[in-house]
Symmetry: D2
Subunit: 339 residues, 4 copies
């Protein structure tokens, strides 16, 4: 931490700050500037948030954090990139770009099996599908719940595709973990710390979506909650942030891919379906995601989008998805990867 | 809903849309424009979200919602403003501006009692204090939990002030409801729909904070979740949204007060402590909140901000709080209200 | 500036940074931390932006500015608040809250005279009205131009109210200065640095509006451009920033009032008409602005809003404006001020 | 336009709206809903902005625009994509991805020639470089001005590369047009309508950058200003928007590429240097831009970034740029294009 004193602070103010820094167990170093003093506080990084309270002291202008507040998620602690094992044949974070595909919601046995078979045929590696749905409106379809989980398991049995589905609360987390291969934490729960701790205690990989107003640093802090509970299999997901632009449902922040890869060892996947909210833009943004180094994609595919119970406008038809997969393979190859 | 057809859509496209609108139980009305057709879908409002799926049809350019998606929270359903009863003597939504004050976190018996006595003496009506703390970092102080609830109850016993404290998950919701007079839903849980349903089933007033990336419409949708479960005592809280500006912790959106009052019957309070993140700005923004019609305020007060375990920089000292209360009384009077 | 070295930086990296800091004329101070070094660069503040280039050096993680980049606009340079003289009887920045009112656009002699007379009767101190209009669409009404300036001058003659109107380019700046008492720089030109320099050379007070995506620090940097040219009469104007919220036209950032007053000696006024975009919200937000300490207001008033050529939905009728003025007077009184 | 009446509006309110719609020259069509009426206004699209004033009428809840407010920029008017000719050999908008590269500022003859030769050798098609620099701080380097233009012309003579440079005001626009092959309008001038009209009257291609708070629709409206003056050679540039995220200088909105290509015939290029503000992220985001269909890139390259007078941290060294060009060629090939 760097404590910036006000231009008019006197020596008594400075003494009070030095004293408080030492009380908190840090070593202060004063830099006397031309108009004011700046004080560095040196010591173990992790507890440094308490230093923020120095802002309340007289004569202090601001307290500037120097280090990242996360540790386990940091590349400084573990410089090599993680490979998260999902099933016998599927892992995320290696040279293979992993594609998760399927409907927003599981709606019926026919729908999920038909989709699973189609996305597998097109080359997808993991089946996605929502059984518990967090919906903005209480009057929207809330998912088939356990029945949906069973249908996902059935689709896995038929196709061999591992399954990713969302966990929306602690009560049903174990249930979801019984059926699913990856536990998804949705954007609206990305700072539901109680839920993060819960999935940190389970022994299934977690797909952690970035919240709509979440900085990259906060995403890593949420990952830190899961890692700190002992679950080392965390996959981060960029899915668009909320901005003033309304031409797309969210603003897909693809720069987050190289930024995250420079800061963390965790794999990073991209969700262009929620990121754009419009099926026309899913293929180009999927290509872009692979081109900038994403470890995978999660894509909404529905056999009959205009009859979907949720997110129809952003779902690809299986034929469009298959065509897109061909293009993704070529782009991956260009950087020595496969899909 | 208004369905806007593309300029080049042909009659077959239009027929498909009309057919689908009728299948969904609505009555279509076509307006033939100079360059394209526009189709209105008339019918019961609540289920209309399914009409959004028409965007996937060929020849459709966009689907524009006309009506608000909330119902129970709407002023159209109940035009008179709610008065939410908190205790024998305290109610929110009437002519009296209600002030909730206290520390961010309950830290010790001495701290919470001292603060409660001080804020009561200054004229506060409700004691705030966190027992379960949702913190961005897993390494930050997470609250005294049940011990904190007991200390809040003790402070209530001594001062007679009702208590508001945060509920962070379903597991501990009943416990919090046993001790607290108002259940606070924090900004990070404002779209934790499972938790919203849970507090909707409890019979305690709920203080629902706006999420950092939440529109006013979405805040009302979250309130709708609570109302739909049968709990009619919901108080909305503007606490700042996330924008590009970093001079304040959040951007306090005070316009939300008159906007909400034009759309809903629910009372609206303001949290200038989180809204600005800086104790220097709390008093002016509290005055502004009362001046634009807020039904109440929730303010962080700490006897010793520089030693606070959380949110020290935004906490008022009791003496500053008392001074501010004097000013608030005068501003309330000007519009025929009291504090 | 604080230069943060990477955890793995070696002594050669550090030497290169120290050497470059000295080359640039600053004195480096090293703080050796537990995991990395942090280097302070001490010296004259103003040119420090060049230090940012150190980010390109090997082994440097980030460069953190410590000081504000503005000087003339800063309270550190001039701690007492400015009073900007507009005319014989009107000044902005003192104990009197100044209200500027009038139509978005000057449309006709009848319209501007009628409005001027009405707002004067209600207690306004300055007449506003656009002659040159910057419009998002090339097909919108672009203003009466010089004819509009003449009508404003005529309205001033009749009512005695000084006039504020917008300058949209360098070519017409002198012309506008001939007619107007205050030169308004609109939000879209707030970083048109060539125009800022031009009005800095004129000897008329400048009303500088905050841009839609402008931080408070950048607003002060734009003011610095005007001050640096020798024009010391600058009035800042908060008029709403662009956020994800669409219930209002912009998000009025009222906290900017106390924030600016803590950082600069320049007066601060508020524009709730553009800030909210809706006449229903203008009165409550005007009250809030005065309550949090604004030095003035700028309000759109139109005798016949539904026939206005621009911004009708956010314009007050004269009768509503008069009623609002009564309320503003009471709120100003409460803090020992007048309107 | 769709005019939504309030639930409680009476027939008198409705009549007034119908009357006003007809006065304005449109034909009203009423849709009677279950709780309220909705009125469509049919007629020529361009002037429809005046209909917005209906929001001021009694009984009107909101006015919802249905059509895009731009015309000349729209794909509906011209469905085939533009190819903008820059020089004998260079055109933007065809199957060849065009790369513009060079320093942020022209600093010296040696610097610009060295850079021009290097980027040409690496395969760049156009030389970029700033002679007039709009800088946030009045104390930052403001460019070599005409001297810089002459050096750019010299670099063109030597390398044969056409030149793009920024126009910052009307006064110097003709001068810049004398030297430059493309006139760049910077983000801060993207709604400086006087300047847009000026470059619309010149006969040189214009590179129009998106403003930091500019929606895609507003970008097209700014293009419309140029097109409406008769200049048909407009190239749009996505360069990042301002959001809450601070890990990058701006948030590069790559989705804008397919969105723009679905709405307009104008070519779209991407500026990943300003979009990310960090040279580490320029190569991955350039690859992503090409993968999602961008017609070109504009990249900052500097022979000695740590001594650059501006934007050093986001500039590539020539060697890194050359390596990146190799990768871009492969990605372009995958979709049947070249670089």
């Amino acid at each position: 931490m760097i404590i910036v004193m006000k231009a008019g602070a006197d020596s008594q103010d400075k003494e009070a700050v030095l004293k408080r820094i030492m009380e908190l167990g840090y070593t202060p170093h004063v830099i006397s500037g031309t108009t004011r003093d700046v004080i560095g506080a040196v010591g173990d990084e992790r507890g440094k948030l308490v230093l923020q309270s120095l802002e309340s002291l007289h004569g202090v202008e601001s307290v500037v954090p120097i280090l990242q507040p996360y540790k386990l998620a940091s590349k400084e602690v573990k410089p090599t990139r993680d490979i998260v094992k999902i099933s016998e044949n599927v892992e995320i974070g290696g040279d293979k770009v992993i594609v998760m595909a399927g409907p927003c919601s599981v709606e019926s046995e026919e729908q999920i099996i038909e989709t699973a078979v189609a996305v597998k045929a097109a080359g997808a590696h993991i089946l996605r599908g929502g059984a518990f749905k967090p919906r903005t409106s209480p009057y929207s379809f809330q998912g088939l719940e356990e029945e949906g989980l069973k249908l996902l398991a059935k689709a896995r049995e038929i196709t061999g595709l591992p399954v990713v589905t969302e966990v929306i609360n602690i009560e049903t987390a174990d249930l979801v973990a019984d059926y699913s291969d990856i536990l998804q934490i949705g954007a609206r729960n990305s700072q539901n710390f109680a839920l993060l701790k819960k999935v940190g205690q389970l022994r299934k990989p977690v797909l952690l979506k970035r919240g709509m107003a979440m900085t990259i640093q906060e995403l890593l802090m949420s990952a830190e909650y899961i890692l700190a509970e002992g679950n080392q299999s965390v996959i981060l997901c960029e899915r668009g942030i909320r901005t003033f632009e309304t031409a797309t449902r969210n603003t897909l922040d693809l720069s987050a891919v190289p930024v995250l890869q420079s800061k963390t060892h965790l794999p990073v996947v991209v969700d262009p379906s929620h990121g754009t909210g419009n099926h026309h833009y899913v293929a180009p943004m999927s290509c872009a995601a692979v081109a900038c180094g994403a470890d995978g994609l999660i894509i909404e595919v529905h056999p009959d989008p205009e009859h979907a119970t949720s997110d129809g406008p952003q779902s690809l038809k299986p034929s469009t998805f298959a065509k897109m997969m061909e293009q993704l393979k070529k782009i991956a190859e260009v950087s020595g990867r496969t899909v």
